[in-house]
């Protein structure tokens, strides 16, 4: 990084017997909800001894890393994504020659920490560059793009740039104050009809915790929130680089009536903050129900109790009674999830059989649990089978896993398998808000049975194009490849059922127009459609794989994921990033980190975790310009370099 004279002065001022970060730059280019982010850091070992220099970046869990490069005193290390076994073999070969190091990946609930360390002699210059890609998901009517900005020190050149290009226009863009109130005025937002640029570039003084401090106050999340113009309910069809993306986010429909069974874990472990926050959230959630809705509540520990054996109308009297009931619950005992879910499904089935449920209404089970089953059926796969067997196509299951002890994977599987979704809830002082926010996302279903289709022989490799429900404030996205055709117009047809009416909407797009437009915009991400299609496809395949009924099917899906991930350079559970020096003699390996079975972070008591992520000491056997470090004491069963085995953090593939 080349510093201006003023920055050079700043650099000299902060330079000490330490590691000095000369620059820390984050740039995101968002085009049509798809973001490519680059984090660059330039660091100097300004001490008098050899030191370990680290590069830590927190990235959103939903992102895929696409590249990492490093330049150490002029030697460049370049990354490439390979199938995991291939990458590991190459890495192992390098390790055998003493020419390998590890990149640590670890998960907290929402973020993933990417960390690498290099041990270098004094005066060394290192430049790190990490790339990742992700798709923005619309929730509650807007997209949130979050960047974790954590330079760790005062930095002469610290800059965050976010460029947004949305072809249909940006309806609103702003930066909620998530980084700290003192930085609010330093964030500049410039926007026009279809572009926006958000820049945050504090000088050294502005970064300090206080006037005379030497620590950086910048450690948090930088958020950009925006939404796009929607001039019709038919959605937005975009075609670029031989791929299409259809966005569907209609509004102006009356919500569908809902039938909800709330299934709440009241076992002993829910005692305290969890139950208090759940009760608080339920008060607001119940108040949101209307006379058109029907509901009931099941609370369970080792027993299962129903507030009402049948669904009741959301009248003010019923709601008041339900609120009172919830407040009276005292958590205690074990956990019989199976029985609770069976009862909930049976309640919906009974209501449906009795003609009590409007065929055009939406039926949901919302499960809140904080732990594993301990009573009744405790085998998770059996519970999963039981639920699937009893559920009907028109019912959905939503799971909320509260706290660290819950098996989130299980909750996610039963939700995904039953047309719902799962969410983690941190068991802290704002758990009620998290619960309410989740409920807000599903409280206004507008459409059912949505299908987005195309004329025969115009497209191929289409991602999921049938959806059970569409909720107000969200967005459905379908992508695929455009087949060669005489016509330069691609048309999509969307069918759906609203409250009492059926709709069929048509969207069309010129196949050449957007590429011409993208070429004019300096900061647009021209390959967005291709990458977005690959991103969605890989994500969907990963979900399908988790639910695959047999090993053969799983294997086929695995192959497909690997092939796509390698082609599009995504680091996934099945691929790894191999970083090699120019002559391929030095290597580093980055794997996709596995979620710990139960929560993460043994050290955390609640809230987003910034500490306690699993650490592996990087072991680096050096070329001439680097001195070796003393191996750290083994942690979690990791053995030292002399007994090096496959690192424990590597994600072993099921059934492989």
């Amino acid at each position: 990084a080349i510093l201006t004279s003023e920055e050079q002065e700043d650099f000299e001022a902060i330079r000490g017997d330490d590691i000095t970060v000369k620059s820390y730059k984050v740039e995101s280019r968002i085009t049509s909800r798809f973001a490519h982010t680059t984090v660059r850091s330039s660091v100097v070992n300004s001490g008098s001894k050899a030191q370990s220099i680290g590069f830590n970046v927190q990235i959103p869990k939903r992102a895929f890393i696409t590249n990492f490069t490093m330049n150490v005193n002029g030697i460049t290390f370049v990354g490439s994504v390979k199938e995991k076994t291939v990458a590991r073999n190459l890495y192992t070969q390098a390790r055998a020659r003493g020419k390998a190091a590890g990149i640590v990946r670890a998960n907290s609930q929402d973020m993933e920490t990417f960390k690498t360390e290099v041990h270098v002699p004094p005066g060394s210059n290192i430049e790190f560059e990490l790339h990742y890609q992700e798709m923005m998901h619309r929730k509650l009517g807007f997209y949130d793009h979050t960047l974790h900005v954590q330079p760790g020190r005062l930095v002469p050149q610290l800059q965050v740039d976010v460029y947004i290009f949305e072809p249909k226009g940006i309806s609103m863009v702003h930066t909620p104050n998530t980084l700290g109130a003192q930085f609010a005025d330093l964030i500049k937002v410039t926007s026009s009809k279809d572009k926006a640029h958000i820049v945050f570039k504090p000088n050294l003084q502005q970064q300090k915790k206080c006037d005379n401090c030497t620590e950086s106050a910048i450690d948090g999340v930088f958020t950009v929130r925006y939404d796009v113009n929607r001039d019709s309910n038919a959605g937005e069809l975009q075609v670029s680089d031989g791929h299409f993306v259809q966005f569907f986010a209609p509004s102006n429909f009356s919500p569908l009536p809902k039938n909800i069974v709330f299934v709440i874990d009241v076992s002993g472990s829910m005692w305290g903050v969890k139950m208090k926050q759940t009760v608080e959230a339920m008060q607001a959630i119940l108040d949101d129900l209307t006379i058109d809705d029907h509901f009931s509540i099941i609370d369970f520990n080792h027993n299962v109790r129903c507030w009402s054996e049948e669904l009741v109308q959301g009248s003010s009297i019923q709601i008041a009674d339900a609120k009172k009931y919830i407040k009276s619950i005292k958590p205690n005992g074990g956990t019989n999830i199976n029985e609770a879910l069976m009862r909930a499904v049976q309640m919906l089935v009974k209501a449906s059989n009795q003609g009590f449920i409007d065929p055009r209404s939406v039926s949901m089970i919302i499960l809140v649990s904080d732990g594993d089953p301990t009573v009744g059926e405790i085998k998770l796969s059996t519970i999963q089978k039981n639920v699937k067997r009893l559920m009907r196509e028109e019912f959905s299951l939503f799971s909320l896993g509260i706290g660290f002890d819950v098996d989130y994977d299980f909750l996610e599987r039963i939700a995904m398998e039953n047309r719902g979704m799962a969410q983690r809830i941190y068991a802290n002082h704002d758990a009620a808000e998290q619960l309410r926010t989740f409920y807000s996302q599903v409280s206004s279903p507008l459409l059912r049975k949505i299908a987005i289709q195309f004329t025969e022989d115009t497209v191929s490799d289409v991602t999921q194009n049938r959806f059970d429900k569409y909720f107000s404030g969200s967005e459905l996205v379908v992508a695929g490849k455009v087949l060669p055709s005489e016509s330069n117009i691609l048309t999509s047809f969307t069918t759906a059922a609203a409250s009492r009416l059926d709709i069929k909407l048509e969207s069309s797009a010129d196949t050449d127009e957007l590429d011409t437009e993208l070429a004019k915009h300096e900061h647009s991400f021209t390959g967005f459609a291709r990458q977005m299609w690959a991103y969605i496809t890989v994500k969907q395949l990963i979900s399908e794989r988790a639910l695959a009924p047999n090993a053969d099917k799983k294997r086929k899906i695995t192959q497909r994921i690997m092939s796509l991930a390698v082609e599009h350079q995504f680091v996934t559970p099945l691929t790894a990033l191999l970083v090699e020096s120019e002559d391929a003699t030095e290597r580093l390996l980055a794997d996709f980190p596995k979620d710990p079975k139960h929560g993460c972070c043994s050290g955390g008591g609640g809230g987003p975790v910034s500490s306690g992520h699993t650490q592996l000491q990087a072991l680096y056997h050096t070329p001439t310009w680097v001195k070796p470090i003393t191996p750290a004491p083994p942690s979690q069963g990791i053995r030292g370099p002399e007994e090096w085995a496959i690192p424990q953090h590597v994600n072993l593939v099921d059934n492989d």
Binding site: S232, N233, A234, N252, F253, A498, S499, I503, L505, E506
Partner: protein
């Protein structure tokens, strides 16, 4: 609004203008037998020109009982309500919507056709102008087929002509304008001076329209329509005509 009434038996077209006020809602079809009512609300141009403010239909409403389904078409949106649920669509996308016996077909930026129980149809055409024009505004046209299956109770500025009156035109002669002949029309026991002219049908060419040659009735259709045009002003978009 320029009205064109096609009389299939007489094989002629008769036209008249209704020169009412901004905001007035004119009843076009009122059929208590089938429970269908079609009303249009007037909007004005942005400025007075030659001491006159032009008026157009800015909103057309089709309402059907007993379902209570109402389709309200404006130059901005097409809204559908059944009294409890409200759904809104824009002109920006081709769409088909079906609720109970009501079907709505929107052709992007062109027209919307509302069909009720497969036997009554109304097409509303969107006329868009340059947004920054100092005078002109977006407006709507309405086209109602002659073979709609109304009940005998149907009335309204257009509905009344589903029972075709007997029309005789005679004494055709040169008029003041050499391009426009004049004549006498006998209809409903009235003798009316009429002028041969032409109006526009925009169904197949939204910009230029095609000419429809017709006998023009002066004074807001007086003598051709039952009563006076002010008899057809109703209070709400879903109001039936009281006679």
């Amino acid at each position: 609004p320029h009205f064109i009434v096609h009389l299939p038996t007489s094989n002629m077209d008769v036209c008249f203008n209704i020169d009412s006020k901004l905001g007035h809602i004119l009843n076009l079809v009122s059929d208590r037998g089938t429970g269908v009512v079609v009303n249009g609300q007037l909007i004005g141009s942005k400025q007075v020109q030659k001491s006159k403010l032009k008026t157009y239909f800015g909103t057309i409403s089709v309402y059907t009982q007993p379902d209570g389904v109402s389709v309200t078409v404006s130059t901005v949106s097409i809204a559908m309500t059944d009294g409890r649920n409200n759904h809104s669509f824009t002109w920006g996308a081709t769409a088909e919507i079906t609720q109970d016996g009501v079907q709505i077909s929107i052709v992007k930026n062109l027209h919307v056709t509302i069909t009720i129980n497969n036997n009554i149809q109304v097409m509303v055409l969107l006329h868009r102008v340059w947004k920054k024009h100092p005078v002109n505004v977006h407006f709507l046209g309405i086209y109602i087929p002659t073979d709609n299956e109304y009940s005998p109770l149907v009335h309204g500025l257009i509905g009344q002509f589903s029972r075709e009156p007997e029309v005789t035109v005679y004494d055709i002669h040169e008029g003041v304008d050499p391009l426009k002949k004049e004549a006498t029309m006998e209809v409903k026991g009235n003798r009316l001076p009429v002028t041969r002219g032409w109006q526009k049908d925009y169904r197949h060419d939204e910009r230029h329209g095609s000419n429809v040659y017709c006998w023009f009735i002066h004074n807001s259709g007086k003598g051709f329509i039952d009563g006076h045009y002010t008899d057809y002003i109703v209070p709400n978009l879903t109001s039936f005509l009281y006679r």
